[in-house]
């Protein structure tokens, strides 16, 4: 049995023209994990996924899915993966039911099994009523559901979702989140790329942050936030003495509010309140500002993960 669902070693991609999209990255995605690959547009997320699924030719390095080399053993490797690309794409000559049956067929499912899987997926995604419509006749949200359904129809153990909730409404986003959690509980390995921080924090048990073709850090969201996050506690006091000392913490003050940066605000808050109480300072309000993966990204790269979302092209 392989411990890793996906293993990437020294993976490099240099596009025609010399742009280095991936710079010898190493990555292990454990079997059964919900793994988030985070980074701004152009960081190398889609290139990584493209190499795994056969849409992009690698320059050097290796990538395996459940131990199967994605280049040399591409047939076996691709059977193990299902991809939902970021950009919506549909075979407009057929109804969505036919599209799903065909897609399952390309993966070798016989007609009976392909039909069963298709009808089940259509039901799970609330698409049964639209089964005989073409993709052109569907709303944006419905199209996104079909896009994800295509990745699942052959029942792969590894599901790769490239920005699956880009442009969908909150209701559908939460419906998809619940569905993906359920799939993960059933044992599917999920690789998710996103630049929605809250999505990664809500779903992923492990994340890797990629920037400019390099993995800059990886770990569980909580580990990264604790290690690299910059949370804070804000306390509004009735009165602040001119020589206030709450060592070992440092603070800044604005009017009657002291701002205390800390990587672990929940743990530090009782201790700080204890000090302030002993000093007989009247506490009026306490606010915890929790750190997020966005702060982790900012700390590591000096840039916001969403900084260039609007202007950069995904590679």
């Amino acid at each position: 049995m392989f411990e890793s669902a996906i293993k990437i070693e020294k993976l490099t991609k240099i596009y025609d023209g010399g742009f280095k999209a991936l710079n010898a990255i190493d990555l292990v995605i454990p079997k059964g994990s919900f793994f988030g690959l985070l980074g701004p547009n152009g960081a190398g997320k889609t290139t990584t996924i493209g190499i795994l699924t056969g849409l992009v030719n690698l320059t050097s390095g290796t990538a395996t899915a459940m131990g199967k080399n994605v280049v040399r053993e591409f047939r076996e490797a691709r059977l193990l993966m299902g991809l939902s690309p970021q950009e919506l794409n549909f075979d407009v000559f057929f109804t969505i039911r036919q599209v799903l049956i065909l897609q399952a067929g390309y993966y070798g499912l016989n007609k009976k099994r392909a039909t069963e899987r298709t009808d089940l997926i259509l039901q799970q995604f609330g698409l049964t009523e639209k089964a005989h419509n073409t993709a052109r006749e569907l709303s944006g949200g419905m199209k996104r559901r079909v896009q994800i359904a295509k990745a699942l129809v052959h029942d792969p153990p590894i599901i790769i979702l490239d920005e699956p909730t880009a442009g969908v409404d909150i209701e559908l986003r939460h419906m998809l989140w619940n569905y993906l959690r359920e799939l993960n509980r059933e044992g599917k390995t999920i690789l998710l790329t996103t630049h929605y921080i809250e999505e990664a924090e809500a779903l992923c048990d492990k994340v890797a942050i990629i920037d400019q073709g390099k993995i800059v850090t990886e770990g569980s969201p909580q580990e990264l936030i604790s290690k690299l996050g910059t949370g804070s506690i804000e306390i509004k006091l009735h009165d602040i003495p001119s020589e206030l000392n709450i060592e070992p913490w440092e603070f800044s003050r604005i009017d009657n509010v002291i701002h205390i940066p800390t990587s672990n605000p929940e743990k530090d808050m009782p201790k700080i309140i204890n000090i302030l109480t002993k000093l007989n300072l009247g506490i009026e309000e306490v606010k915890i500002c929790k750190s997020s993966l966005e702060d982790v990204f900012l700390e590591l790269t000096g840039r916001s993960i969403l900084e260039d979302t609007m202007e950069s092209k995904n590679v």
Binding site: L55, N57, R78, N89, Q103, Y106, Y107
Partner: protein, 253 residues
């Protein structure tokens, strides 16, 4: 060598053009019917016979071949271009299907459309004229190999093309001149010596005359060389198309 997925893709290609029969079968039939009426009936009487065959019957193999070539090429090139343009080609590239399987499925789809169009034009010709087939097996062999060759050519152009104009340009600037200069409407012996020599380098000339021999029992060319050229083109274009697909030329980054 060929997986179950390959046969599903072949089925998809067949279903696609059969659903669009008004666009994929009818136009060839109508244009060939018009050629027979205009060229055959209107001009045929003035031209008389070529090699003891009525002019109308003489041009039918050429019309059949034009229809076969055009539809086989159009099928694979446009199907592939649509898949590229609407990006659902990615849905195929991520599957376990090999480049050879994907290209072969497109070629088989194109071959079937070319074959159907060729047979329809032959049937129409039989209905409108006294055209009959001398050697059915050889006729089928020509229809299949030429459909296959230009279906494979369509895959190559479909992969190469970045816009729909590229697909159309090939028809306008390559197929049309080669068809017209390939002896659809005349025998090579009716041309000046220079053009007779030029025609020898036109593969369509060999293919059209091969089919003319198979259907009418007369032709300008060596029957064996015509067949060998048709088969060689089919094999060469198939190999190029498969290599392009396997390497991801212009379809993978």
């Amino acid at each position: 060598m060929f997986s179950n997925g390959f046969f599903v893709l072949v089925k998809r290609e067949l279903l696609r053009f059969m659903r669009l029969w008004k666009q994929t079968v009818m136009p060839g039939l109508i244009s060939s019917g018009l050629y027979i009426l205009v060229f055959g009936h209107a001009l045929g009487a003035r031209i008389g016979e070529i090699k003891d065959i009525s002019y109308m019957n003489y041009i039918i193999p050429g019309l059949v071949m034009m229809s076969v070539i055009n539809h086989a090429y159009q099928n694979s090139s446009s199907s592939l271009m649509q898949a590229k343009f609407l990006k659902f080609l990615d849905d195929l590239l991520i599957t376990p299907l090999s480049g050879l399987e994907i290209s072969m499925a497109y070629i088989i789809g194109a071959t079937c459309r070319g074959l159907i169009n060729g047979i329809m034009v032959i049937l129409l010709s039989m209905l409108l004229t006294n055209f009959s087939i001398d050697n059915i097996l050889l006729t089928c062999l020509y229809l299949i190999t030429v459909s296959w060759a230009f279906g494979a050519m369509g895959v190559i152009v479909g992969i190469y093309a970045k816009t729909w104009d590229h697909i159309g340009m090939f028809t306008t600037f390559v197929f049309m001149p080669l068809s017209m200069l390939g002896g659809v409407f005349w025998s090579i012996e009716m041309l000046p010596e220079f053009w007779q020599t030029v025609s020898m380098f036109n593969p369509l000339y060999w293919m059209i005359n091969g089919l003319r021999y198979a259907t009418l029992g007369v032709g300008d060319t060596s029957q064996e060389i015509s067949l060998i050229i048709s088969i060689l083109f089919a094999i060469t274009f198939t190999a190029i198309a498969s290599i392009m697909f396997s390497r991801g030329y212009r379809i993978k980054s």
